[in-house]
């Protein structure tokens, strides 16, 4: 149930009109078409750009938030964590739909609206991941650093930050992955004209019905995601070795 569908996507991506098994043609045409057409590659680049910037915004907003939560009293910590979790349990579609009303007459460009929607949906992942790694930290380490002559800022930079990197990495994975492949956020908030790679896949499967080409696009996307995952993981290991 898990492996077979993946294999079918690969099969479709490398074939042409393969709907019946007899006249299957193995081809690289789908990939060629995707990579040579500028409209497709620009959509891909735009998706990556949006996902990267969303991830950065989530780190910039989420890290301080997680840090603030970790400073609170234990009782209030669990309440705030619950408050961060609660919106997540409400259907993502419903939450994105809610933003549509707020942003309808806001005058923001479609791109800004998509950023707002993405940050809104994925920021809790970052906050919770960073918070978990911060709250696991031994508080005595900070005390020790201060005893050894660090000021508050230096203690944060040399002790707290390096120890929380695994949480940030996990957060990056949880934000970047859905952001790059999301298709209903751009559709609901960006209007029809703002197309990301997820919308492209949706179009080729649902509207146009060219499954071979759609499979090729999703395969390209998966490979890009796997490569970026590999590099983020590597970053993590480098941190640990130091």
């Amino acid at each position: 149930m898990i492996v077979v569908p993946m294999l079918i996507i690969i099969f479709y991506a490398f074939t042409k009109e393969g709907n019946s098994v007899i006249n299957v043609k193995v081809t690289l045409e789908n990939f060629g078409r995707f990579l040579s057409d500028e409209t497709f590659t620009s959509v891909l680049l735009r998706s990556i750009k949006i996902a990267v910037i969303t991830t950065l915004i989530c780190i910039l907003i989420g890290y301080p938030a997680a840090y603030c939560i970790a400073q609170l009293k234990a009782d209030s910590q669990s309440v705030v964590v619950l408050m961060v979790t609660l919106p997540q349990l409400i259907n993502m579609l419903v939450r994105t739909y809610a933003w549509r009303g707020i942003l309808l007459n806001s005058g923001f460009s479609p791109e800004v609206k998509v950023y707002i929607g993405m940050v809104y949906n994925f920021l809790p992942f970052m906050i919770l991941q960073v918070y978990t790694s911060l709250s696991k930290m031994d508080k005595n380490l900070i005390v020790a650093a201060k005893d050894l002559g660090c000021n508050e800022f230096k203690a944060f930079l040399k002790v707290v930050l390096p120890l929380s990197i695994p949480g940030v990495i996990a957060g990056i994975t949880l934000v970047f992955l859905p952001a790059v492949s999301s298709f209903f956020i751009p559709k609901l908030l960006g209007g029809g004209s703002f197309v990301l790679v997820g919308n492209l896949i949706e179009n080729y499967f649902v509207t146009i019905g060219d499954w071979n080409f759609g499979s090729a696009i999703s395969l390209v996307m998966t490979v890009i995601i796997l490569i970026s995952m590999y590099f983020t993981r590597k970053l993590d290991y480098n941190q640990e070795e130091r």
Binding site: P5, L86, V94, Y97, W99, I102, S181, I225
Partner: protein, 264 residues
């Protein structure tokens, strides 16, 4: 000063998180068919919602699929996890890696994979494919929450049960399952929420006429439909209530125990 600043920052974040939720609730009581101007209080969208056959059927399908998918995936996932814990290292390694795939893969890829899988088997998309897809993506989550519990389990306990005259089935139901109960329970909970909230996989694997709440919302946003606000409000209320009950009741109990201890 610093403390106030951090509290202010957290308050801002909460405002960001809760503003759209409040917005939806407010506009579900709007009299006009508008998402931007509030003209007066009315319950007409709630009335419309309860009368709308498509909304009610989407709620029905969401619940029924979440319930069946949770039950099936919990049983299958638990059995698979137990079987896996007794098999050799290589198989364990391979299955664990494969099990992680749907979580690392973008949802849309899992979704089209399942869709192509069903069509290549000539299964018509509809209720069956939707249900099968939900079961398929819930199983890994159940296994993931059961497996750590199994790892903590001492192998000798099952053996002891067998030595003391249990049949293998009895050993399973009387010894192993009670020990991993919390893992099974949290797995089932995750499965239920995943299934209840799912949009991407449902969107690609469902057929004509079968909608769950998510695909219904997606299909109805082209025109302004305040009944969706009413539906959202009810969902928000139910989830909030369940969460408050689940989180506050243990808290109150803990406080009472504490107080009692202080008295003595």
């Amino acid at each position: 000063m610093k403390k106030h600043l951090s509290k202010f920052y957290l308050a801002l974040i909460m405002l960001f998180f809760y503003a759209p939720i409040v917005y939806v609730i407010v506009f579900s009581f709007n009299d006009a068919r508008s998402l931007t101007t509030f003209t007066g209080f009315s319950l007409r969208w709630y009335e419309k919602m309860f009368k709308s056959r498509s909304i009610m059927s989407s709620v029905y399908y969401t619940v029924i699929i979440a319930v069946i998918a949770t039950a099936v995936s919990t049983v299958v996932g638990t059995v698979a996890a137990i079987g896996l814990s007794k098999s050799n290292k290589l198989l364990k390694e391979v299955v664990t890696q494969v099990n992680n795939l749907p979580m690392l893969n973008p949802e849309i890829v899992t979704a089209i994979g399942l869709m192509l899988f069903f069509t290549s088997l000539n299964i018509e998309t509809g209720f069956t494919t939707l249900l099968l897809a939900h079961i398929a993506f819930c199983i890994p989550y159940v296994m993931l929450s059961v497996m750590p519990r199994l790892r903590m389990l001492d192998d000798n306990i099952a053996e002891a049960a067998l030595d003391l005259g249990c049949t293998p089935v009895q050993a399973l139901t009387k010894v192993i399952i009670p020990q991993i109960k919390t893992g099974i329970f949290s797995g089932a909970l995750i499965a239920f929420t995943m299934s209840f909230d799912d949009f991407v996989i449902s969107y690609f694997t469902t057929g004509p006429g079968i909608n769950n709440i998510s695909t219904y919302v997606y299909s109805s946003v082209k025109r302004i439909n305040p009944s969706v606000n009413a539906l959202s409000t009810i969902i928000i209320l139910i989830i909030t209530l369940v969460l408050i009950i689940a989180n506050v009741v243990p808290l109150i109990k803990a406080r009472k125990v504490k107080k009692n201890e202080e008295v003595y």
